[in-house]
């Protein structure tokens, strides 16, 4: 667990036509840790994600990643710098095969993507790496299947394999466990634990057991502000947090 701050937001703020979705959030993520973002619906978690990954432009405030100011960077440039995100709904390419899904990512890394005049076979050397990645997430037997045919849990596994193809230093996972069966949750938790060994992970998650198991630090957001921060034990005892979650029973 490093002491270096890999990602830092300073007074980040986002307004949508008068409503403030993110209201002065200053977040520090230490390198090599699993950092969970939790909070009731509408707390601004996904908006914060979109701001960090440049899918949205902040109204005010700044973002630093690996010591560089990325406040005005382009979304498509962040993966090159090692930061890759996932989405709340499973982000796959449904009508490509499982293998092609991973190849799209590998191709970006090796820079073959603008080869209009070459055939598919010119990137055949990527298949080996793609298969390794698919094996790591337990999808080896499905490689020629269309991604849309996979059951939900497997789709998320495919998404993770695709993400890992970019060899990211930092992953931002938006509710990786949403809609999963308990069997899938165990498998994906295991997978996340494994990939977290060499990486930094920021994760939005509602399932408290997952958060407690996996994360080193938890930041609780409520109405666009940070309500509490720290390890699970501290945060779960915090009276403000318990109050924010009243009625939903999550913090119990």
């Amino acid at each position: 667990m490093g002491e270096n701050i890999i990602l830092e937001t300073v007074d980040l703020r986002k307004e949508f036509r008068g409503t403030v979705a993110v209201d002065g959030v200053s977040l520090s993520v230490r390198e090599g840790t699993v950092h969970a973002l939790i909070g009731p619906n509408g707390a601004g978690k996904t908006t914060l994600f979109n701001l960090i990954t440049k899918f949205l432009q902040p109204t005010a405030g700044s973002i630093r990643y690996k010591g560089e100011d990325i406040t005005h960077a382009r979304a498509a440039d962040l993966p090159q710098q090692g930061m890759v995100r996932s989405f709340q709904i499973s982000a796959i390419f449904p009508h490509l095969t499982v293998l092609e899904n991973v190849r799209v990512a590998l191709q970006r890394v090796c820079g073959a993507s603008f080869y209009i005049w070459k055939s598919d076979a010119s990137t055949r050397h990527l298949n080996e790496r793609a298969q390794e990645l698919l094996e790591a997430v337990g999808l080896k037997d499905f490689i020629h299947r269309q991604a849309v045919e996979l059951p939900y849990g497997r789709k998320r596994a495919l998404e993770i394999a695709t993400t890992l193809a970019l060899e990211p230093e930092m992953l931002l996972l938006d509710e990786p466990m949403a809609g999963m069966t308990s069997k899938d949750i165990i498998r994906i938790s295991e997978l996340i634990r494994r990939i977290a060994e060499h990486r930094t992970i920021v994760m939005i998650e509602h399932k408290m057991k997952v958060v407690a198991d996996l994360s080193d630090t938890i930041t609780v957001l409520s109405r666009g502000r940070i309500l509490a921060e720290g390890p699970y034990e501290g945060v779960s005892q915090n009276p403000d947090v318990i109050e924010a979650y009243m009625g939903t029973g999550h913090a119990a």
Binding site: R85, F93, P94, F114, Y115, W117
Partner: protein, 328 residues
Amino acid sequence: MAEREAYALRSEVSGWEARQGAERGRLIFAAIAVLALICAPFAVYPVFLMKVLCFALFACAFNLLLGYGGLLSFGHAAYYGTAAYIAAHTIKVWGLSPELGLLAGTLASALLGLVVGWLSIRRAGIYFAMITLAFAQMIYFFALQAPFTKGEDGIQAVPRGYLFGVIDLRPDLTLYYLILAIFLFGFYVVYRTIHSPFGLVLKAIRENEPRAISLGYRTERFKLATFVVSAALAGLAGAATVLVFQLASLTYVHWQTSGEVVIMTLLGGMGTILGPFVGAIVVVTLQTHLAAFGAWLNIILGAIFLACVLLFREGIVGIAQKRLKKLL
């Protein structure tokens, strides 16, 4: 462990074998189709066939953008017509050879595609369609007013000339083989684009654009490249049409031509490689045989288009592919 690896290797090999088998099947089919096209002018009126091929190329170009790029351009006649005017002017007024006319027309359309594409690609869906339509209307009114296009008359009596200064293109049969070669070239470019690493990214963008961005792709660059290729090939089709009918007129840049190419593509099967070709055959055949109905032709076409969108969205080729898959 070794056993598992061996199994995995086998399943991988069989997966690739299946793909190679499909590839071989496609090659045989392509060879038969090309042979049929080579023999066709001995059975069917060559000028009709050339019209089909020109529109088929135009529809293939359009399909690349709509079916694989996911972008509905409602102004593709602009590229088709611009190339037609430039080619006609190059050949008739400047007296250059037909291949230079084709080249000039294609380049002009590619350039126009680059400008319009660059300005419109950031918008999606209906906004994109409207922007492309607006530009196409501008081109139409330019063609109506500019002196070199000869307004309502168009550029008439464009000589077919001699290809590379040697081959006399005046006989319909000779010209047919040039048009066929142009069509096959354009078709191959589309095929190559779709089945390249670039094409895979393009499909990924169509499937899930935010995810493609999050993998580090600047999606607008890929869309723009596709737009330019599509515009250039639409231009090639337009320039080729000039050689066939020896005419470049306002019909080429009219919005109705943009509409016809949409109908051909959807009728034949959007996002299928053969769909636009089949759609072009159907629409041009109908236009030729129902010409006696006058204005009713458009109503008939409209009704067919409606039926297609309501009843069979995959188009003729899309449905045929599904049936074939079931049979196999």
